[in-house]
């Protein structure tokens, strides 16, 4: 029997590195291909939101369900249709219970959930049962799938790289 802490540590999270997103939207495409069998970003679980600052460069942020530890959608759902998957920690929707009342859509702080236009039920990122397709195509590394226990450490390593590089530029060690 695993302790709750061990279970939590065994789950992985999708970590977004905003600086690295190249705005290519490939994650949207493969997500819809995998889940819907067609290429349609409108039905993708991950949405790349792009904004143009000053019109001269692109900032994009992929947004998807972050599998909250204290999920507002679960709290808000009157049908108790949303549950946490024990294997992956993903918040899944019981489509037989869901009535499409949109309480989860309204309550989500990230706007990550939506109602499916064909099936008329709530849908969101299901972490592809532990093998997220979007991470597999993200060559720049804006999306990573990392164990909960290592997420913080990983973020620190990334920060260190940036700092080290800055120092190298100052001291002239860079090529």
């Amino acid at each position: 029997m695993k302790t709750p802490r061990e279970i939590h540590a065994s789950w992985k999270s999708l970590i977004i590195d905003v600086d690295k997103c190249a705005s290519c939207k490939q994650c949207e495409k493969v997500c819809s291909l995998k889940h819907e069998g067609e290429c349609n970003p409108a039905l993708s679980r991950v949405k790349v939101l792009r904004d143009e600052l000053m019109g001269s460069y692109f900032v994009s942020i992929p947004i998807m369900c972050q599998q909250c530890e204290v999920p507002t959608c679960v709290e808000a759902c009157p049908m108790e249709a949303i549950y946490k998957d024990k294997e992956t920690g993903a918040l899944l929707v019981d489509e037989l219970r869901c009535t499409g009342c949109r309480m989860c859509v309204i309550s989500c702080p990230l706007g990550a959930g939506e109602i499916h236009p064909d099936r008329r039920v709530s849908y969101r990122c299901d972490l592809c049962s532990g093998d997220p397709e979007c991470v597999k195509v993200c060559l720049p590394g804006a999306l990573k799938y990392i164990e909960n226990a290592k997420a913080g450490y990983n973020a620190r390593r990334e920060a260190l790289k940036k700092l080290a590089n800055r120092l190298a530029l100052i001291s002239g060690q860079s090529t």
């Binding site: 939207k25 994009s60 195509v137 720049p140």
Partner: protein, 663 residues
Amino acid sequence: MVYGYAGAILRIDLTSEDVRKGLTSEYSGKYLGGRGINARLMFEESPPKVSALDQRNPIIIGAGPLVGSGLIGAVRFEITCKSYEQVPEGFGNEGIGGTFGTEMKYAGYDHIVIKGKAKRPTYIYIENDVIKIKDASHLWGKGIFETNKLIREELGDPEVAILAIGQAGENLVKISTVEHEYRSGSAFGAIWGAKRLKAVAIRGTRGVKVHDAKKILEMNQTFLHGIKEWLLQDIKECEKSRTAHLPYPQYVAGEKSLVNYVDRSEQTITGYFKGIEWADIEKTRAAPYIIKRMMKQTGCCPMACIGMLKVPGIGISAMKCDSYYWPWQMYLTDMDKAFEATRLCADYGMDNQDMATPVSWLMHLYGEGIITARDTDGVPMEWGSGEALLHVIHSLANRKGFGDILADGILSFAKKIGPKAEASVMQRRGIVPNTDELRCQPAVALGTSVDPTCGRENYYNEVIWDRYLRETGQEAAVEEAYARARKTYGTEKAIIPWEYEKKVEGRIRDEYTWYMYDMFGSCFFLLIRGATKERYLHKIGEPFEEIYPTDLEMFKAVTGISLSEQQVRTFTDRALNLEKAYNVREGFTRNDECVEEFWFKEPIPDGPQKGKVLDKVRFEEMKDQYYTKRGWDLKTSWPTKETYERLHLGDVAECLKKLGRLP
């Protein structure tokens, strides 16, 4: 069920504000995808012998069946217009990456045909079925960056994909472009300007139906594996230094290797068509410049080939690869100025491929004493002067002072200066050459002369990769390539750049490759890298049918249609012959398919290829061979009746017969 294709062709008339929809299926049986159907539409819709700026001429935007299918790199769309830059005006086609093509497919259109002339400045907004022709008076006179920002604000949608022109296009400058997210369609800006069309903004939410989604996901992984392998190979060198700690080592590594092999090769030219040697070349290396200024990497596929640089005091912009050659052509050591100029070009909407040679020419004239500062409104065109470069760009885009004449092409400007200036103009069909050295690359010379769009692109890629392999120490791979070439062509000379033998076969092989990608809508640049080991580098010298089964698999996964190599060839031949027929109808003859006399006369002054000139007799022989293989008449270069009929283009032959343009 039709997979891949969105199904509709949208026709917009700006004069009557009339919008119609047609079916792609009327064309898609006989012609293939973006470039294929575009060529047919162009032949049908563009009336013969009218000026490129005439309102009856269409703007055709086409996205192939693979665009928006979710395959990596399948994002390219093709713009076809009559080229305003070419003399005489002929067929113009440009492939562009970005989000426009995919949004177009998601909105439900394979092709968009825009004709007529608006009463006031307008822009078109397309959202699925809703097509609005909107007022753009407030956008007229604004640069690309601001236009994009204002349209996005007005529509309240930052995701909308925008194709727009800047001041240069409005002012009908010959080298003005249509810009889309730092990519540009060359020399079409003026055509949009003449129609008073400022921009097309598009957004779609319908998606593209595909035949086999699983297969697409699998193929994506194969491509990514290939890309990673290529990047790792290049990054090795960089990893030793601290560059690997940058967010995007692959970009830096890529550019570094690009610069490494470009600036030492025989292919590039410094000054105004001088040799390859220049004492300050080290100062203009791209890699060290990028490393310190790289802010972000963007692109339309995960390879993200566009680097955004941030330079204090100038701003943020992408540095396009051609801009890395600018310093060499102008002896410019201040890279910041090259960056600033690139940014200005992107904002004004001017082609940065077409910018360096005219400026370098002005500097040459100034150096020779043929022009003085008075001819260029008081700014001396000194070699290496960044101010001179910026001055030319500002004057050109706004048609200010001497820029008013220069905007009509360098030939017009040369005429004003006198015979000495006219004699030094380098141009073929009105288009200036860039840094490609033709004297030791007959295949490139052949390619650029017979290409219906007068493309300067280095079609003959086998040449580059030969060098790349040597410089990365893969001598064994070169020997293997030679062995394959001997097997395929009978001689290894087929893949040696400066030899003339078997180059026609190579050119035709490359035509099949390029047209296939342009028709499908996928990115050649990505796929040659994505395929580094299995599909390209190690396949140099192999015949077409053995290289591209993967692409046909790709096509099948998306559309469900099994294409054979033979069918791809037929589709290519049809598109190519239609493009050619368009030019024939405009009155092109064999004499228009040429390169500058300079390459035949002036030997290469320095470097490993010193002393070489292009052999005119052998060059004409190559053209003869090419025409024979294509089924074109040797005297006029016109395709014969039999060639048209073989491709089921009897109606085209009829049309040309009436005009007396069948040999």
